[in-house]
């Protein structure tokens, strides 16, 4: 049964994605991005968001293992919160907000094209997995 979802539609590289609005805390333009040596490619760096440390994630790496453009100051980003974690997803463009029907992890946009509906919980878990794997644990 197709369920109605309130989503934000955005583009990363050549791909458009949808994400339910309830996970989105803010749409921001990134401040200076500090790179984190020894971190996996999925972590594009860290930013200062209102005095807190905000990890910036690369959706491409998390979903398909393909890195997108490096996150830079001034890039657009969605600040999302799920599973007790807050992070930013770097995006190239935020298109619009819409109410769309979800079927099997996809939504169909106004032009009839299917868009992948991102699951932020799964994205963050994947990110945590990658970070944990990359962290060398001596002893």
């Amino acid at each position: 049964m197709a369920e109605l979802r309130n989503v934000i539609i955005f583009t990363i590289g050549a791909v458009r994605y949808a994400l339910e609005l309830r996970w989105v805390r803010d749409v921001v333009s990134l401040g200076f991005v500090t790179s984190v040596p020894t971190a996996p490619a999925a972590l594009g760096g860290v930013c200062n968001l209102h005095g807190a440390i905000l990890p910036v994630l690369d959706v491409g790496v998390l979903l398909d293992g393909v890195a997108g453009l490096p996150a830079r100051q001034g890039d657009g980003a969605l600040v999302i919160e799920a599973e007790g974690m807050v992070c930013a997803l770097r995006v190239d463009q935020v298109d619009h907000v819409a109410s769309l029907h979800e079927t099997a992890g996809e939504v169909i946009d106004a032009t009839g094209r299917p868009l992948r509906l991102l699951d932020p919980g799964r994205l963050l878990h994947r990110a945590l997995e990658l970070v944990t794997a990359e962290a060398e644990r001596p002893g």
Partner: protein, 737 residues
């Protein structure tokens, strides 16, 4: 208030000082006149009060224009005048002349501020002032300290805030002692984070173990159901044993981890209480900040002639003293900015129907986990339309952005350091002067600045600061253009001139010790082969090491921010801090650096140059990775997978043994210390099995002792790699024949 150099640009400061000099001459003239009026007799109580008041005002003004020596001299003079007024009075016939001499000397000092003998003049003045208080005083004696003549807050608005609080019995403690304690408590925070990470790993491990056991259990049950096949009984027996063992271990691990978590919770509470307690010791009410504001405003009023009143609210709001100290300069800046650019001249105000005297309101309050400090004026406000035009005209914004941005965003742009450059000295540019400094200072404290304005009604600057801040001393340095920090308590020595690093330089001799060198430029960056590099010598838990960097910046006070759950597994970092320009700077964990520098550290980072050109060629096939750490299994899977290997994993020797009986592996990589069946035992059993006796084996271990190496060689192990595992070390081991 020596921060005046920061508050004003050189031109403004010079102008303000000129104004101050004029004001000071007038004030000192008043004192001289009162003294001379009484001949050699002790001045009347009223005359003394007036003299003290002008001196006090002088002190405030001197501070505002960045003349700390003058502040001190005025304070001393004020104290001396107070002493004269008390009984028994030190007044003597000669005191009148002495006072006049002192005043003349101060004027002489002010006229020759920039000259080399200014310090000598000051010293002479101090001696003279002290002689007023104690006529028999010899030049070398110390003056009486801390005789505060007037109650310190001479506030306009506070005056109607009721009587001053009753004095309480105070315990006087040197601030440095509290700071030391705070620093130790800050250290405790790092320790706690480290322990928490390990417990978190344990917890994951316990969960994994339970899950593994469950799948084993399920497989076993399934196997029993179809137990008709003749080749299975032995297998079943082994599985049942392993299942039982696993069940016991999983339960024990869960219990231990749960217990550890409880104890950690208790530790967290205690550390929290300790820190809150220590912070409370350093808490002070906003009153001193308000006093600072009143004093600054008084100075500005005298210097500029602008009539402006200060109103205050929330004086009892408490601040960490360390934070409050950092707020003094931003407040000075905001007041100066308001007086110079926010407030209209009296005639304009009158025409607008506003009271001729402008009002600046300062409010402090606690809002949830934040402290909020507001500085508002009732002046002309900021013309956001003009600001939009300016932003576009100066090329900072493009036209669509300026159109789309709301007023809040436009006002926020005022805080950009770049907006008000010299040569744009109109009202708008003026309004932005120095706000960059405010922004930076507040960002450094982990806070935010907001501007709001209503045209014609006034402007409000809101400073929002975290209620509790963990300040620590850190050594800042640069690698690959990024700034990093190390807790300063662990820094024992700096080699600014640099030490020689090269292909073989893995140690450096400091005194009688030969220390390992950890090349942070290689660990954190790409590290060009500079021959000499600045180095920081660290000591942690009794071990020392030398870290080479690109550039040492120096010691700074920083705010420690947690990295958050997502980044917590990156043990190299103990946290982060935010620079004045709002950039995140990572704090390295000295414990991890020491761990990396001592046996087991990867060669690429430890001294030897990173030569990626000689990357060895690889064989590939199916590999079994045996390690009880999920993190290491994942890391190895990723490393080997990207080299074309098909990777299977096992959590311990017993499981690995089962897997090797079912599948033929081209390579086996195993840890030594594992539950159920350890690495050596696993290898011994594999060597006794025809199917696996020739399988190449590589050991990864944190126990790379000669004894282990010998035993490994005896078992025909191809290579032994010391943890932590890096891609390069792994590939080299695999290439070894």
């Amino acid at each position: 208030m020596s921060g005046a150099e920061l508050d004003f640009d050189a031109e403004e400061l010079a102008m303000l000082r000129q104004l101050f000099r004029t004001e000071a001459h007038d004030a000192l003239e008043t004192v001289t006149a009162r003294v001379l009026a009484g001949g050699s007799a002790k001045p009347s109580a009223e005359a003394l009060t007036e003299m003290m008041q002008v001196t006090h005002t002088l002190k405030g003004a001197a501070g505002t224009v960045g003349l700390p020596a003058m502040v001190e001299v005025s304070h001393r003079l004020e104290s001396a005048l107070a002493a004269v007024g008390r009984e028994p009075s030190p007044w003597m016939a000669a005191t009148a002349d002495l006072l006049v001499e002192v005043i003349d000397a101060i004027r002489g000092y002010l006229d020759h501020l920039a000259e080399p003998d200014a310090d000598a003049r000051l010293a002479a003045i101090r001696t003279q002032v002290d002689q007023i208080v104690r006529p028999n005083l010899r030049a070398e004696s110390q003056p009486p300290a801390f005789v505060d003549p007037l109650p310190e807050p001479v506030l306009d608005a506070l005056a109607d805030g009721g009587p001053p609080p009753e004095p309480k019995p105070w315990l006087r403690v040197e601030p440095a002692r509290i700071d030391d304690l705070m620093s130790s408590a800050g250290e405790l925070l790092f320790d706690r984070t480290r322990i928490e990470r390990r417990v978190q790993l344990l917890r994951t491990l316990a969960r994994d173990l339970a899950r593994t056991r469950q799948s084993l259990h399920d497989a076993l049950a399934e196997d029993t159901e179809e137990a008709e096949r003749p080749e299975r009984p032995m297998m079943r027996g082994a599985l049942a044993d392993a299942d039982a063992a696993l069940a016991g271990q999983a339960a024990l691990l869960s219990q231990t981890t749960a217990g550890l978590l409880e104890e950690l919770e208790a530790l967290r509470r205690t550390i929290g209480e300790l820190q809150r307690g220590l912070t409370r010791i350093r808490m002070e009410s906003a009153r001193s900040l308000m006093t600072h504001a009143a004093r600054t405003l008084r100075g500005l009023r005298r210097a500029t002639g602008v009539t402006v009143e200060l109103r205050t609210a929330g004086e009892d709001t408490e601040f960490d003293k360390a934070v409050a100290e950092h707020l003094a300069d931003p407040i000075t800046q905001l007041l100066r900015n308001a007086v110079a650019h926010g407030v209209e001249p009296p005639d304009v105000r009158a025409a607008l129907g506003k009271p001729p005297a402008a009002t600046i309101t300062m409010r402090a309050r606690q809002d949830g986990n934040s402290l909020v400090l507001e500085v508002s004026d009732d002046g002309r406000g900021i013309d956001t339309g003009a600001l939009r035009t300016r932003l576009v005209a100066t090329g900072r914004w493009n036209a669509p952005r300026a159109q789309l941005a709301n007023d809040d965003d436009v006002l926020a742009a005022l805080l950009d350091t770049g907006l008000s450059s010299r040569g744009e000295a109109d009202e708008l540019a003026g309004r932005g002067v120095g706000l960059g400094v405010v922004q930076q200072a507040i960002a450094k404290l982990g806070g935010e600045v907001k501007v709001s304005s209503i045209a014609g009604k006034g402007t409000t600057f809101t400073l929002r600061l975290p209620l509790s801040t963990t300040l620590a001393q850190a050594m800042l340095f640069k690698v690959d253009g990024q700034v990093y920090a190390i807790p300063n308590v662990h820094v024992v020595h700096l080699a600014q001139a640099g030490i020689q690093v090269g292909a073989q330089a893995t140690t450096w001799i400091v005194g009688h010790d030969t220390l390992p060198v950890l090349r942070l430029e290689l660990l954190l960056g790409h590290g060009a082969a500079t021959e000499r590099r600045p180095a920081i010598v660290l000591s942690f838990a009794g071990k020392s090491l030398v870290c080479t960097v690109d550039k040492i910046i120096g010691a700074r006070e920083i705010i420690i921010k947690p990295l958050g759950p997502l980044l917590a597994p990156l043990t190299l970092y103990a946290g982060a801090t935010i620079s004045g320009s709002g950039k995140v700077q990572l704090i390295l964990d000295p414990a991890q650096l020491v761990r990396r520098a001592y046996p087991g550290a990867p060669a690429a980072v430890l001294g030897a140059p990173d030569d990626r050109s000689s990357s060895p060629t690889m064989l590939t096939g199916r590999v079994l990775v045996v390690d009880d750490s999920r993190a290491i299994r994942e890391a190895m899977t990723s490393m080997l997978g990207s080299e074309g290997w098909i990777v299977d994993v096992a959590e311990d020797g017993a499981r690995a043994l089962q897997m090797t009986r079912q599948l033929r592996y081209d390579l086996l990589i195993t840890d030594l210390e594992m539950p159920a069946l350890d690495g050596f035992e696993l290898i011994a059993r594999l060597r006794n099995d025809d199917r696996s006796k020739d399988t190449p084996i590589v050991i990864i271990t944190s126990r790379a002792s000669p004894e282990h190496r010998r035993r490994a060689r005896d078992l025909g192990v191809r290579a032994l790699v010391a943890k932590p595992i890096t891609r390069r070390k792994l590939l080299e081991a695999l290439a070894a024949r």
